[in-house]
């Protein structure tokens, strides 16, 4: 059964709020961050809607941000994979073309023996890194291939190769640890031999330029090429837009065919952008980064504060009168682990046709009791479409 065959027109609005890294776990010492957070507005949504726990990829699997978001958008994240290069390219709104090979690069320091001593070049400042990127764009030349460098943030750089016969099946050059040299480019398929050779030449040219700058090497990883994903318009008949702030999440949205509204500076501007464009779109994706950032840092008060900041704008979102509002996360980021994790993600679904369960607070243990149950994240999308009146009856 194809969802497309059931799509029906409706002048309704769906809002997806993603708190990045939302989930956590309780232990002998603490409740979860979400359980401890003071969230009167989210609790009210929970009381008026249904809650559950969702699993982005599969039981026990810790998702990266790409698979976590694809699942929220209704895609099977084991079927559609997005390399880091592609996410970085879309993230800085680089106009990637078919056949381009993109990679994520880290500006790094090497010691006298040529081994990596700092994978982030001392977390180089944005202006110093931008100067390096400008120099690379001006001075690096590789025969038969166009090379583009774009600064992402701090030590993070996007590299794009454009030319005939390039192939992304090349192993990462970034060894992902210190004390060892950058890896020599190795094709993972014979067809990628020329791309590996190009990368070897590129690496030399880059190092020559860097000799005048506060970085020694550019460690590349996540080679990928643009895969066409079916779009939100084709899959769901939705005019969709994102008010995400961070490039990577704007990028994932764009790959799925969403419009990217002018970049807001914070939660209030994100909600304001939705309000301003409310009648231009059927679906809005709001991304809130703070819980994941604090989760990575093991910063429990920070994660709690990040959740509470989102809670504070819930009344403004509700005031837009969405027909379906979902609050969820792309994965869990427990502060006990300072990392992403496999724990399922607490989720609220709210709207006039959604129904209610007996749960009246938003938290992991409360969600384990909810009527949304435990289910794969990507099942949220058809449920949202249904509650927005956008799916016709199946069968007579």
């Amino acid at each position: 059964m194809k969802l497309q065959s059931l799509l029906t027109e409706a002048g309704t609005h769906i809002v997806l709020v993603v708190m990045d890294g939302l989930g956590g776990f309780a232990d002998a010492e603490y409740d979860t961050e979400l359980e401890e957070a003071n969230t009167p507005n989210l609790d009210q949504l929970a009381a008026e809607g249904i809650v559950g726990l969702v699993q982005p990829v599969a039981p026990g699997i810790t998702p990266g941000s790409g698979p976590g978001h694809l699942a929220l958008f209704g895609y099977d994240p084991t079927e559609y994979e997005l390399g880091r290069g592609i996410l970085s390219a879309t993230g800085v709104e680089f106009d990637l073309r078919a056949g381009d090979v993109a990679a994520r690069g880290n500006l790094a320091l090497l010691d006298d023996g040529g081994n990596v001593s700092d994978r982030r070049a001392g977390r180089i400042a944005d202006d110093a890194a931008q100067a390096i990127v400008d120099a690379l764009n001006a001075q690096v030349e590789v025969d038969g291939v166009e090379v583009f460098f774009r600064h992402i943030a701090s030590h993070r750089v996007l590299v794009v190769l454009r030319g005939e016969g390039l192939d992304p099946r090349v192993a990462d050059l970034d060894p992902q640890r210190t004390g060892v040299p950058p890896k020599d480019p190795q094709p993972l398929d014979p067809a990628a031999q020329r791309t590996a050779d190009v990368l070897r030449t590129l690496d030399k040219a880059v190092r020559a330029v860097l000799s005048d700058h506060p970085a020694d090497a550019l460690l590349l990883r996540g080679f990928d090429t643009l895969h066409e994903l079916p779009s939100f318009a084709d899959l769901y008949g939705l005019r969709a837009a994102t008010v995400a702030i961070y490039p990577m999440y704007r990028g994932v949205a764009k790959v799925c065919g969403m419009d990217t509204l002018p970049r807001p500076s914070g939660l209030d501007e994100q909600v304001a952008a939705m309000r301003e464009h409310w009648n231009d779109y059927d679906y809005f994706f709001l991304h809130h980064k703070k819980p994941d950032e604090a989760g990575h840092d093991g910063d429990r008060p920070g994660k709690i504060a990040g959740i509470e900041a989102l809670d504070a704008v819930v009344p403004d979102i509700v005031a837009l009168e969405p027909d379906v509002l979902v609050v969820s996360g792309d994965h869990s980021s427990p502060t006990q682990m300072s990392a992403h994790s496999w724990h399922p993600v607490p989720t609220i679904m709210w709207g006039p046709l959604v129904g209610r369960d007996n749960v009246t607070t938003f938290g992991e243990r409360a969600c384990a009791q909810g009527a949304l149950g435990q289910r794969p994240t990507r099942e949220l999308m058809p449920l949202m479409l249904a509650a927005a009146g956008r799916l016709a009856k199946y069968g007579a």
Copy 2:
């Protein structure tokens, strides 16, 4: 997405405790056996971890011990089947080799017309049956094939054929009812024609020997050959061992590539064996038979006592400091039914990274409220690997 591609090294320990036939159901008269049992230590695990109900094969399907254990080990029990012959062979620790064809045999009585009159030879006593097996091993000869007979219990005998070009695709010779003759060997595939011919010769030779004994025929069924299952080492990167006592469970573990530690005599020795070999393995499988035995007998107090016996050693298992401890069962065996059943199996998952839910006791109805939810048994394995820090992140 293959789990193998995410495996990562970790010096962590996983313990799986299987209470055979653990689950039951409540009725107008009684709580379940587990609910009535006094289990302070299991209750503490439940309070400190998460609980749920697991389903070994599929909704409504009553599992045999083979599929029940394969699911606990993370295999799809509808994809990997272990024939009765193979389970019988591993069960008596017969050293089955690649290419051997094994079958289960019943010593049976025939009437004057050659029809089966008793499929169990009057539930022949063990010593009489052992004498028959000895005579068969001494006297039965078939050209070009080695034949091995092993006594299992009462009328049950293992038969193994060893030789070139044997094929297990032969229909059962056991008609599984009385009043009809044993079936003539029929190949289910042309490649098994020779094996069918061998079995016809074997049947004559067996009957000739039996003419001096209190049985008339050996009814064979469940022809199978040793299938190589992917091993725990290959699938999960785990050094795995079992401290099971009963041959059949040691056999299933062995088929999955686990080491079988010297046979313990009871629960205390099982835990002691884990303690002794703690640093030699990453994964231990402890099997506890008593709840299922009592379940088969409809012995409610016996099943309760069996559960309480396991509860008593929980502190010794916890003292080993496993990173993940799961307590579950291979299937349910309600004493009301004196048989295996399809009812889902109550399960605890416990460990520092597992998290907690609101459930504080171990029982079927408590588990229905737990954060582990209701899920296929085989999902436990990736969750255990995750909580043991053995799965890397999926995607960027």
